[in-house]
Subunit: 234 residues, 4 copies
Amino acid sequence: MESFKNLKETCYAANMELPKLDLVVYTFGNVSVVDRKQGVFAIKPSGVPYETLRPADIVIVDFDSQVVEGSLRPSSDTKTHAFLYRHWEHIGGICHTHSTYSVAWAQSQQDIPVFGTTHADHMTQDIPCAPPMADHLIAGDYEHNTGQQILDCFHTKGLSYQEMEMVLIGNHGPFTWGKDAEKAVYNSRVLEEIAKMAYLTRQINPNAPRLKDALIQKHYERKHGSGAYYGQGC
Amino acid sequence: MESFKNLKETCYAANMELPKLDLVVYTFGNVSVVDRKQGVFAIKPSGVPYETLRPADIVIVDFDSQVVEGSLRPSSDTKTHAFLYRHWEHIGGICHTHSTYSVAWAQSQQDIPVFGTTHADHMTQDIPCAPPMADHLIAGDYEHNTGQQILDCFHTKGLSYQEMEMVLIGNHGPFTWGKDAEKAVYNSRVLEEIAKMAYLTRQINPNAPRLKDALIQKHYERKHGSGAYYGQGC
Amino acid sequence: MESFKNLKETCYAANMELPKLDLVVYTFGNVSVVDRKQGVFAIKPSGVPYETLRPADIVIVDFDSQVVEGSLRPSSDTKTHAFLYRHWEHIGGICHTHSTYSVAWAQSQQDIPVFGTTHADHMTQDIPCAPPMADHLIAGDYEHNTGQQILDCFHTKGLSYQEMEMVLIGNHGPFTWGKDAEKAVYNSRVLEEIAKMAYLTRQINPNAPRLKDALIQKHYERKHGSGAYYGQGC
Amino acid sequence: MESFKNLKETCYAANMELPKLDLVVYTFGNVSVVDRKQGVFAIKPSGVPYETLRPADIVIVDFDSQVVEGSLRPSSDTKTHAFLYRHWEHIGGICHTHSTYSVAWAQSQQDIPVFGTTHADHMTQDIPCAPPMADHLIAGDYEHNTGQQILDCFHTKGLSYQEMEMVLIGNHGPFTWGKDAEKAVYNSRVLEEIAKMAYLTRQINPNAPRLKDALIQKHYERKHGSGAYYGQGC
């Protein structure tokens, strides 16, 4: 039982960032963190408010979404997390919220255009909005199919999950991921800021152009390219 | 006098949530909680700021809005609360605020369309906006008639108060309710968030479609249906 | 020197409410409070940040805006305050801010329409926006003329300063007043909330109608009429 | 090594204002402060979060952007700061953020019109938005060229850096400056407020006129002119 203690604490800490960053109200969100050696991931229990959440409440499940340890039911979105961990071997954490501006874009069923360098500092493409699923998929294994929906969206648009670490599920909200849970949460916060900036930009100038290619490449490269000089290189 | 001590404290605690959740400024709101066995409900006194409100200030009134205990005048909206408790036997608490985005939709005299799963996680219908009352009803027993206005709106639209636990009063603001005062307050906070998301959605995409029926049903069922798997089932 | 101690402390306390209520950044605002028996009023010194303001910094000036006590220069808006105290004998405090939504309406040179009961709970008319002054008045005794501009606006629109306790100066921002400094600050906070609600209402429904007369009268009367039943009657 | 202790602490304190003023999330911003006698400036290290930043982390660089003292890599925007210090001899501090409303205007590629006295209290001109750079300049010495872009923008528009202490870089975000780091940060906060007010003004009234010249001059002169009577004259 002690073997998952660190995993639970990491998962707990990442979940507790969400209310601090104003990304959730009540129980509207969840973060998971994977341990690939043991073939499990830790995830928030379903419907438990952040104010009362404790590290011991975190649920350990395997990649088939079966509970390995924990007395509570895992997040209702667990199968979507499991699907992504199975298919994307380089991600270490996943975050899902209903943050306000990200949801507004998802409900608008529109990609978020790359309007500026705040966006380009993190990725070179528009943030994709996956279209709503067909009715038989919704009625079927819904959360599993949500994972498939994300994969299909990335395939159709030719996106790499290692370069684009976020997606909007049409009419639902954002999923983000990263090398660990902390990065997944960071990406949710960044997405919400970019979503708000893009919203305001469109309101001020409905014809605001996408950022020019040279600037997209420059800002992405200085932070993520082989000659990157942003950050401390660690 | 001691018999209502718990009822007052529950009512006090629920009222004090409103400023914490940024749903009120000054005295713009009130929560009540009912004790059906004793045929009374507890409600905030009128015009008392939250900063100075004490549990002993809470007023106990009967279903005819007559004061049973308390030295202060009850909320000016007391008759609306009494009306709803009389007609809807399964509700335990009622909350009224002037929260910003909910009021904006009420002033726009528009229902809030179900644009996404945040909405569908809580109800399957658009959030109704009751039309303004006829002049003779306004000039008459106004707060009583506001209760009637809510009932008429639910009748006209074929809504169930146990499934749709909120309403906008046209040009005024929201009333929400639930099995207890805590749930009523929760519904006010959720309504404000949904109202903001719907506002932003319309600004980004004036032609944003309502959520498709399959998704409405799926999200509502997974949280509230017989096979619900959201939350801890308690 | 001790004679103005209470007046200064009242003025200080009212000024310190402004940053708490998110109505000002840095030095963008000022509150004054009058002592009509002594023929003076207390006002915030010019350009002093709220973080470092002390009660002893408050300046006492007479109705000709001459400093009676205090080592600092009074607010640059002092002559506007003096003008209003001279002409409106029943006001006890005045508040001026550059709060965001109120300024946006002032910069739009539009009255704020009465869209709902939050507005009607406080006044029955649209909140007036005074037009910009003629150039020779701006170049002249500007702050004195700002007072005249307010008076002219109320005269032209047939408004009573005892019923409408707020105004927008076109392209500048709001002035509010009341029986004391606390009420003047309260009115600034209420104005900002009404300004935000009206902004959102127009965005959702550009054709949103003004509140019907019966509701305007009802809400105003229940709070301020001879048979008022809102509040504790004290 | 002790010679730069004060410079580092001043720079640290100014940087720490940014999260307090809600102008940055994570590492999205940087402030520098110059010591012209020693020919160096202090600047935030690149990619270090504000929560963990310490005074000792601040990097000292010369006007050629070479590190003079410090074990961390300086901000990726260091060359832009160096360029401005070299060309504008009267500035003592520079601040760069990605604050939300300022970025939205930058992404809209529009100057912020002077709509009111909040703006005119600080400057008489529209806040300029520098156009995006040519591709070969982006691919070249980008941060150096960003400085040149600012200079060219001021030259083209006939602006003085001592009167207009801020600029928007098209598609990127704001740079502000002043006599010291504290003033530079102050200008970033003021810019964000003006940007939000101007945004709201345009939404309420798409045809809102610029402030008339007489008011622009009056407000600027009473704060900055030879006969200024705003503030305490120190």
